[in-house]
């Protein structure tokens, strides 16, 4: 055996060992599929000799994750690692690195191996990362089209509103079956309107919002108060709504108001800032009565949903869900003693997995997003920005 052949063999073995450990391996951009195929073949041989069974690559989704900058790339890759145990995906991470030294795209591949208790490996999926300098987004569309696992649906996780919108609208949406956004990444309600426009352009694709999904626990608790025997009566005659939220969480709070306003048929009339730094909205109810709603910034234990409490007054009665701790809430309604309930603490990966399932197809979200956009256009501070 020549030294050269020996060296090539050593390099291949080293690559395979790194691949089996889930470490990234740099590959030529044009050879991604071939390299992956070769590494899986080796993994299958190695696994087969240990277990007597062939290995299978698994992908229920192609998951495209556009990112900007190395810091965000690292966070995104950590997110993919956390999603993989729950849903095997071929992750295609696209990174625009403004500080990149090279002028061309670079690629790495890695495996996500999920072990069964006791050490047996059961799920094998893969992750492809493409990094390029500003302007490289022109190549991303073609790369994604080339790397999609055929016959498997594609979801695009569009978290960074600073990414060039054309990458999404021109290149990725035509090959996407599910768009996932995160209203929690909006730095203000103005971004909410950007997302609303994006969702409109994506139509009829389902759009899942991680922020909306994070609100599900609170929405469910609040909605549960109006199941029989209380019924929907107090909602119809609601007079006041107060949503307390963590500072900076006004987008989440706005979505809660939009949720109630949309479902209860409240007509937005006007808005105003409050002395406490919050917002007030006035609505007309279906029966002609009026409702005042307040977004109140505050402090307290809170998860990423940013909601601290929802209080609804209907005549003399109050219906309250308030957070006692990050994972605990108190439910108060007039006909029963207050009770404590557990709030599930969901990680971003849990929420992403939910977005890839049936909960990612919630037509109510689009309606609430549109309604929130209307509320925002009432907001006095935006008069000069409209």
């Amino acid at each position: 055996m020549s030294d050269q052949t020996q060296n090539l063999g050593d390099a291949a073995r080293a690559n395979f060992e790194r691949f089996a450990r889930g470490e990234p391996i740099a590959v030529d951009v044009g050879e991604i599929e071939r390299e992956l195929g070769s590494l899986w073949q080796q993994a299958s041989s190695a696994g087969g000799s240990q277990t007597g069974a062939a290995l299978a690559r698994a992908a229920l989704w192609n998951l495209v994750l556009p990112t900007r900058g190395r810091e965000e790339l690292a966070k995104t890759k950590a997110l993919v690692d956390a999603i993989a145990p729950a849903v095997p995906v071929r992750a295609i991470t696209l990174c625009l690195d403004d500080a990149a030294g090279q002028s061309e795209l670079s690629a790495t591949i890695e495996s996500n191996v999920v072990s069964r208790p006791g050490g047996g490996r059961v799920v094998y999926s893969e992750e492809i990362t493409l990094v390029g300098p500003a302007g490289a987004e022109a190549h991303f569309g073609a790369m994604v089209r080339a790397l999609q696992v055929p016959g498997v649906r594609t979801a695009t996780l569009w978290m960074n509103t600073a990414m060039p919108a054309a990458l999404l609208t021109r290149e990725l949406l035509p090959v996407t079956h599910q768009l996932i956004v995160d209203t929690a990444s909006c730095t203000g309600p103005l971004h909410l309107q950007d997302l609303q426009r994006l969702a409109s352009r994506a139509h009829p694709l389902p759009v899942a919002d991680l922020g909306w999904l994070r609100l599900a626990s609170f929405r469910l608790l609040f909605a549960g108060m109006f199941d029989p025997p209380v019924g929907g009566g107090p909602l119809r005659s609601a007079t006041r709504l107060e949503v307390k939220h963590r500072k900076g969480g006004d987008v989440s709070a706005l979505l809660i108001v939009a949720w109630l306003g949309q479902l209860l048929g409240w007509r937005p009339l006007r808005s105003a800032e409050t002395p406490a730094g919050g917002l007030r909205f006035d609505f007309e109810r279906v029966d002609g009565g009026s409702v005042e709603a307040f977004l109140v910034p505050g402090a307290g234990p809170c998860d990423q949903s940013a909601i601290l409490s929802i209080e609804l007054a209907s005549g003399p009665d109050e219906y309250v869900v308030s957070r006692d701790a990050i994972d605990e809430a108190r439910v108060q309604l007039p006909i029963a003693p207050a009770r404590t309930v557990k709030l599930d603490a969901y990680s971003d990966a849990d929420i992403c997995v939910a977005a890839l399932g049936p909960r990612g197809h919630d037509p109510l979200f689009a309606r609430c997003l549109e309604y929130a956009g209307r509320l925002w256009s009432l907001e006095p501070r935006n008069a000069d920005r409209r």
Partner: protein
């Protein structure tokens, strides 16, 4: 025109839109008879706690334990807390949540046939409902010895605690644990006694196997996918094997098992229920009666085992001493509470046919046993071989396709098929395409009792057994018992032994070998 005031409670809750997948029952009280027993501590309260933890129970919900054992509310709460800490799916138990949950746990002592005790129960229930603002909906769970089923239901009737369903009135439902009778006659008698008080719609006969995720997924697998159902018949299926094996012995329940045996304990309920779901025709809707109508047809179509050929269709056996998980274990007759000359079967293997258009000529092999090498319940559909063995000419063995549906543990579905091995030669190797709940969805399926308790509170009887199903399965099983009784009377009982840790007696292997088949190793 005068306006008619609609009560608030009758107005729909618009906020449920988009949250509809979370089915929340109406506020209710669950009364558990036999609350000081093992089932309440190990299964029922842990299931209710996990449902509370997952916010699937209504905001107002109470549990009233009823038992012969004297204890107060606090002692009951403490015992149930220990049970939840040990057995709940959602562990560790969350202290504030438990405190809130435990506030609505109560206990009442009484005898099952004492009318005065049931009057006290009624008074206590009304007091709890008044205090907690509960609307009077009640579920009565009979976690008692079977001998107490009829007395409890009679007492419920006498105390007017279980009125028949009426529109706009609170509901009263009764969950009855297995065994529902010990043969056809006792099952019929119990059905009659129960129906004197209750409407069939109020009765939820529980078989916890039906609450398992894979059992429900079997219906989805068959009827929500277009590719499997066309193969699900005698044109393509060679035979079906259903295995329900346990590693445990009688676990201190020797007295009970001596009266039951594997045929009563496992086959009459669990395995025949699983069989009926695997073999039934598509129901017209996924509704309780529509599904149960189709299951009933399967049970009614079970061919009675011919007397002349009985031994080729039925094998029973009893475990002898052996080894399980590296530990020596005693034989059945040496277990506490077991007659040293016992003839109770701890293993049974059956070959049966379903006389229907779909399954004509397809044997179904069922086996169930204690002290087998692993705990597993699965259905294995063995498909026929390819009609022309294009690749088998040089003596390669090509195994037929097998679709295995694993009910427990490690729930999932696997399809075995042949694949060409890479290389110039035409060599074929079996490969497996697997779906596992744990790895595919990354979530732990809920406990069967969680699903079933929730369904009962929601009034959904789909996963519970109807009275006529119970009678149909007993009708088939009782013939086997009668044959065994006749053999015993004639002193001709044949009861082979199998070593604990083996897959059963040789007779079971021979039963399949006679048909040119073999038991699958699950």
């Amino acid at each position: 025109m005068e306006k008619i005031a609609v009560p608030s409670s009758a107005l729909p809750n618009p906020l449920r839109e988009g949250l509809a997948e979370e089915r929340i029952p109406e506020p209710a009280t669950m009364v558990i008879f036999g609350a000081s027993g093992d089932l309440a501590r190990r299964k029922l309260l842990p299931a209710l706690y996990s449902l509370t933890r997952d916010r699937l129970l209504p905001a107002r919900f109470a549990v009233l334990g009823f038992g012969r054992h004297a204890q107060d509310d606090d002692a009951f709460r403490e015992e149930m807390r220990r049970g939840c800490e040990e057995f709940a799916r959602r562990r560790p138990v969350d202290a504030p949540l438990w405190a809130a949950f435990a506030r609505n746990l109560f206990y009442q002592q009484g005898a099952y046939d004492d009318p005065a005790a049931f009057q006290r129960l009624k008074t206590r229930l009304e007091e709890i409902e008044r205090t907690l603002g509960l609307p009077g909906n009640r579920v009565f769970y009979l976690s008692t010895p079977p001998s107490a089923f009829a007395p409890v239901i009679r007492s419920l009737g006498q105390a007017e605690l279980a009125p028949q369903p009426a529109p706009g009135k609170p509901f009263a439902r009764v969950i009855i644990e297995k065994p529902f009778g010990v043969d056809l006659e006792t099952a019929r008698a119990l059905n009659r006694q129960v129906h004197e008080i209750l409407d069939e719609r109020q009765i939820y006969r529980i078989d916890h196997y039906l609450g398992k995720e894979t059992v429900q997924n079997l219906l989805v697998f068959r009827f929500a996918n277009g590719i499997f159902e066309p193969l699900w018949n005698n044109h393509f299926v060679d035979h079906v094997q259903i295995t329900g094996s346990e590693t445990v012995g009688v676990e201190g329940r020797g007295g009970y098992f001596e009266q039951a045996g594997s045929l009563r304990d496992m086959v009459q309920n669990h395995l025949l229920q699983v069989l009926s779901l695997a073999a039934m025709e598509p129901p017209v809707a996924f509704e309780a009666d529509e599904v149960r109508d189709e299951k009933l047809k399967v049970l009614k179509a079970l061919r009675h085992i011919p007397e002349s050929d009985f031994d080729r269709h039925v094998v029973r056996a009893q475990y002898a001493a052996g080894s399980i998980a590296g530990r020596a274990v005693p034989g059945y007759r040496a277990e506490p509470g077991v007659n040293p000359a016992s003839t109770t079967e701890t293993f049974v293997a059956l070959k049966l046919f379903i006389d229907s258009w779909r399954w004509a000529g397809v044997p179904f092999y069922l086996r169930s046993g204690k002290r087998l090498p692993k705990r597993v319940t699965e259905i294995a559909i063995h498909f026929k071989e390819a009609p022309h063995l294009l690749f088998g000419r040089r003596g390669e063995t090509i195994r037929p396709n097998v679709l295995s549906i694993r009910i427990q543990p490690d729930e999932g579905i696997a399809l075995n098929f042949g694949s060409k091995l890479p290389g110039p030669a035409m060599e074929i190797a079996p490969v497996s395409m697997e779906f596992r709940y744990g790895s595919s969805f990354g979530v732990e399926p809920p406990e069967a009792y969680e699903r079933l308790l929730l369904d009962c509170l929601l009034g959904d009887g789909t996963l519970f057994t109807r009275g006529d199903e119970v009678e149909a399965s007993w009708s088939w099983v009782s013939r086997i018992h009668r044959r065994w009784a006749a053999e015993a009377a004639a002193g001709k009982t044949t009861l082979p032994a199998y070593a604990a840790g083996s897959w059963g007696p040789e007779e079971a292997e021979r039963m399949l070998a006679a048909d040119g088949r073999a038991w699958r190793l699950p």
